[in-house]
């Protein structure tokens, strides 16, 4: 995709010949996130024409109890300590950001009165300042008014390294100033093309200054509010048992008219995914269940009961295969898989391309993952008509054979191909999980037919994802030829996500294998494009750069995307729950209602 091409598309949206939603899906197909595509349009002066989130309630309260079940319970209720979605979702019941992301990537104001844009003067021309106007008349659950001071404080709290928040990277270099009691101005240290990361979505929830101020920095752990939240959200805190139950009641002074719908809310945590699915879909004890990591076949059977429906929101979880760039079996300078080494077989692109061709994505989707895995050749799933023209996937054993033959890999007496003293025998590792082992077996079978021998290795998830420096079997060390796992990108801007294939991020001994380029891929063109994208303020040019980066990675076949993995959520038939793939499940809790 070239810049002119993209500009033409944007013009089509402006003229109305290309629907906004289609444009966003197209961009997603090229490897961008929906929020980024949406911001692209805003940059070009095309205002969001967001249909209002449907809400069927006509008055506050009166809707009874809303019962939610998360099969992993939240262990605390401080949104800025929340590393995973379970705590983020739970804290979002009480706390709200300035704006949230809907599933089409639109920015929806929550505590802001409007979304900043160039047109309304909210976004500075130099790309360094953003001015947010805050909603007036919002009160905290304890009755104190919500003002710009709270926003300033939140940025200071999260950005203080001594507080040890997980959001520290977003806030530490940020300068937030108060313009008036309900206006704040953010100044970035450099031109920041994706200005809407701070103060929005799951990393942007605002904390009350009067409650958190005495506990900033090293004392943050002692704050009673870590388990007794005081927010601005549609439901007020009643009771919390870490890892088990959260109870809340309707906030009768909520800042949105006629919301919330339910009188009380309960979020039960713990147990396992299958019984959580049963509690919604079979017994109806609960109204909504999160992230049902259960085989699709079982889900289909439960769904047949007719008590609940499943939502498969296509976000950005991608199951992918990595082919090691480095040699994991010989030490160079006392380090296995040293960045200085070359993998004996995968350094030949023909072998990598053949490997990609030997993955029967369609078959695996049909027989293993069902609706829970959608075959893709890209880093994001997309409707077929929008699939990136630059990448494709194909399952063709004959063609793979032919390709290997041409490249000089000949079958030996044992049927395994070799060239010189290098044999096509690989160790293929992944975590222990039934679908993954089935997937491994299917790929091994196809490889055997092409003269490639795979040794399958499955490692307990606690070890594989354990990031233990002393353990040789972690995915971060990647001391094997091939490995497979799922990566996620729930944050709206893909910049941090795409950083994981830069040379700087190569996971090695020097950085205790803590950085994120696990496959140890290095490409000068990619690095240069990434560096340029970091400072490029022209949204269109930047988008083109990201599409190029996606193509560079995918077309080199060291990283082979396999499936988009939508997370199934179960919703009781009568419950109306607007969900988003780009924000927390509870991002629009005020809009949830139940049909009579």
């Amino acid at each position: 995709m070239q810049e002119t091409e993209l500009r033409n598309l944007i013009e089509e949206v402006r003229e109305g010949t290309l629907p906004r939603r289609n444009f966003i899906q197209h961009m997603v197909g090229l490897g961008l996130t929906a929020p980024m595509a949406s911001m692209l349009l805003m940059h070009e002066g095309i205002a969001q024409t967001v249909p209002p989130i449907p809400y069927k309630g006509t008055k506050r309260g009166g809707g009874g109890v809303l019962k939610l079940i998360w099969w992993q319970g939240a262990v605390h209720l401080n949104p800025h300590f929340a590393g995973g979605t379970k705590e983020q979702d739970a804290t979002r019941i009480f706390y709200e950001p300035l704006a949230g992301w809907d599933t089409d990537g639109n920015l929806i104001p929550v505590l802001a009165s409007e979304i900043p844009s160039r047109a309304n003067g909210g976004v500075g021309a130099d790309g360094r300042t953003v001015t947010w106007k805050l909603k007036r008349g919002v009160t905290w659950h304890d009755g104190k008014p919500f003002t710009a001071d709270d926003v300033l404080f939140t940025a200071a709290y999260a950005g203080d390294p001594a507080t040890s928040t997980v959001t520290v990277a977003t806030y530490k270099d940020l300068k937030v100033e108060k313009v008036d009691s309900h206006t704040v101005r953010i100044t970035y240290p450099k031109a920041t093309p994706f200005w809407a990361e701070a103060l929005t979505g799951s990393f942007g929830t605002i904390l009350p200054k009067h409650v958190f101020e005495p506990f900033i920095g090293a004392k943050s752990r002692e704050n009673p509010a870590n388990v007794k939240p005081v927010g601005t959200g549609p439901y007020k805190f009643v009771d919390f048992k870490p890892g088990d139950m959260i109870r809340a009641e309707a906030n009768m002074t909520y800042h949105v008219a006629n919301q919330p719908f339910f009188d009380t809310l309960e979020l039960k945590g713990g147990g396992d995914a299958l019984s959580a699915a049963r509690a919604v879909m079979q017994t109806g004890e609960f109204d909504y269940a999160w992230n049902l990591a259960v085989e699709d076949e079982i889900l289909k059977r439960l769904e047949a009961g007719g008590k609940a429906r499943l939502a498969f929101l296509v976000g950005s979880d991608i199951e992918f295969l990595s082919l090691n760039v480095t040699d994991p079996w010989n030490e160079v300078d006392g380090e296995r898989a040293s960045a200085k080494s070359k993998h004996p077989a995968f350094s030949d692109k023909a072998v990598r391309e053949a490997m990609s061709m030997l993955v029967d994505r369609k078959g695996i989707q049909d027989f293993i993952y069902g609706r829970g895995g959608i075959a893709t050749s890209n880093f994001l799933n997309n409707p077929p008509r929008f699939r990136s023209p630059n990448t494709k996937f194909e399952f063709n054993i004959d063609k793979a054979n032919q390709m290997l033959e041409t490249a000089g890999w000949r079958r030996g007496a044992d049927g395994i191909r070799a060239k010189g003293n290098v044999k096509l025998k690989f160790v293929y590792q992944t975590s222990v999980s039934q679908p993954r082992q089935k997937c491994q077996a299917i790929i091994k079978d196809a490889c055997t037919k092409a003269g490639i021998d795979l040794e399958l290795k499955s490692i307990t998830a606690a070890v594989f994802f354990g990031s233990d420096v002393a353990n040789p079997d972690t995915y971060q060390k990647f001391w094997a030829d091939m490995q497979m796992f799922t990566t996620t990108m729930t944050q709206p801007d893909p910049q941090i996500f795409m950083e994981q294939w830069t040379t700087d991020q190569i996971s090695q001994k020097a950085n205790k294998w803590s950085s994120r380029n696990l496959v140890r891929w290095s490409n000068a063109e990619y690095d240069a494009t990434f560096a340029a994208a970091q400072v490029e303020f022209d949204a269109v040019k930047r988008a083109v750069m990201f599409i190029k980066m996606n193509d560079l990675v995918v077309n080199d076949f060291h990283v082979i995307p396999l499936f988009a993995r939508p997370r199934p959520r179960a919703t009781a038939l009568k419950l109306n729950a607007p969900l988003s793939a780009w924000d927390n499940d509870t991002w629009a809790l005020g809009f949830w209602s139940r049909d009579a």
Binding site: V166, P242, G466, D468, T490
Partner: protein, 319 residues
């Protein structure tokens, strides 16, 4: 007697120390990282995780971390959970009452079933009642609680739809409705745990009564013309129960173990499910504290069993 208890408590100290040392080392050597979730989230930079590790002292050598833990423990500071940053003792106290209630009631149920059934089976050995009771007991203790638990859920909750299978510690009902709701949600976990225990105890009670009922003094009592009911309750059961009481006390810690699984299945917020969650999240301070509590319970119940033994059987004395 008191000097005996005192001596036993003194001996318990080095065992607890040894247990804590082994637990700590094993946990430190086990794979996993409490901040694994952050490592897997590409939006959280690695520095955040490394800073948290350093701040919570996870990068120190094992021996240093152990002494740190030990010194705090002696002062009564159990540390705080790495994951939730809440004090461990708060977490445990919050969950202990539920565990004790569920385990206690299941033990009562187990005794209520095991005692009469075991005695009746032994009084008429190899009768049809004995055969049925023994076979059921055999099936009962052969099936693990995680299997019967799921079976109960599938049958009573899903097939029949009578009982809820998600336990709630804070029911919103009041008065009689509260008791009804509490009964409905507790009956399955209590039955699963209690019947499993009852099955094995029933076998012990039966064999113990069988041993006693053949003794000469029982024949004497019968020949005196005492009613059969009096012979059994006053002369047989009293003596037969001595080994059973010890067994019940000794098995208490094992019951806690069974409760861990049951709590997880029924989502009971007790210390068992706290332990499982902590293990899954590699939350070392919580795992340490809960396992340490279990270890102390084993030692405590061993001591109780020994003391009970002497109290019931005057032939044993403590020196």
């Amino acid at each position: 007697m008191f000097s005996y208890v005192f001596r036993r408590l003194l001996i318990a100290l080095p065992s607890l120390l040894g247990i804590s040392l082994i637990l700590f080392t094993v946990l430190a050597l086990a794979p996993g990282d409490p901040f694994e979730e952050l490592a897997q989230n590409p939006n959280v930079p690695a520095e955040v995780r490394l800073a948290l590790r350093a701040q919570f002292g996870l990068d120190d050598p094992i021996w240093q971390r152990y002494f740190h833990w030990f010194a705090n423990m002696v002062r009564g500071d159990w540390g705080f959970s790495f994951v939730s940053r809440i004090n461990v003792d708060t977490l445990i106290w919050q969950r202990l009452p539920v565990t004790i209630a569920v385990i206690g009631l299941s033990q009562v149920l187990a005794l209520l079933v095991a005692l009469p059934v075991g005695v009746l089976a032994a009084v008429r050995p190899y009768s049809w009642f004995d055969r049925i009771a023994s076979s059921v007991a055999f099936v009962g203790f052969s099936l693990p609680t995680f299997f019967t638990g799921v079976l109960f859920i599938l049958f009573f909750s899903i097939y029949l739809g009578w009982l809820p299978f998600v336990y709630r510690a804070d029911l919103s009902e009041t008065g009689w409705a509260w008791w009804v709701a509490q009964f409905k949600q507790s009956i399955m976990p209590i039955a699963v745990l209690g019947l499993f225990q009852a099955a094995s105890w029933m076998r012990y009670v039966r064999s113990s009564v069988l041993d006693v009922i053949r003794l000469d003094y029982v024949t004497t009592a019968r020949s005196k013309g005492l009613a059969e009911r009096v012979v059994v309750t006053k002369h047989v059961v009293r003596n037969a129960l001595i080994p059973v009481v010890t067994l019940v006390a000794l098995q208490m810690p094992a019951v806690f173990g069974g409760a861990i699984v049951t709590e997880q299945i029924f989502r009971i917020p007790g210390i068992g499910s706290l332990l499982i969650d902590a293990i899954l999240r590699n939350d070392t301070p919580v795992i340490m504290a809960v396992t340490f509590v279990f270890a102390s319970l084993v030692i405590l119940f061993n001591l109780i069993a020994d003391i009970l033994y002497g109290w019931l059987d005057p032939r044993i004395s403590y020196r």
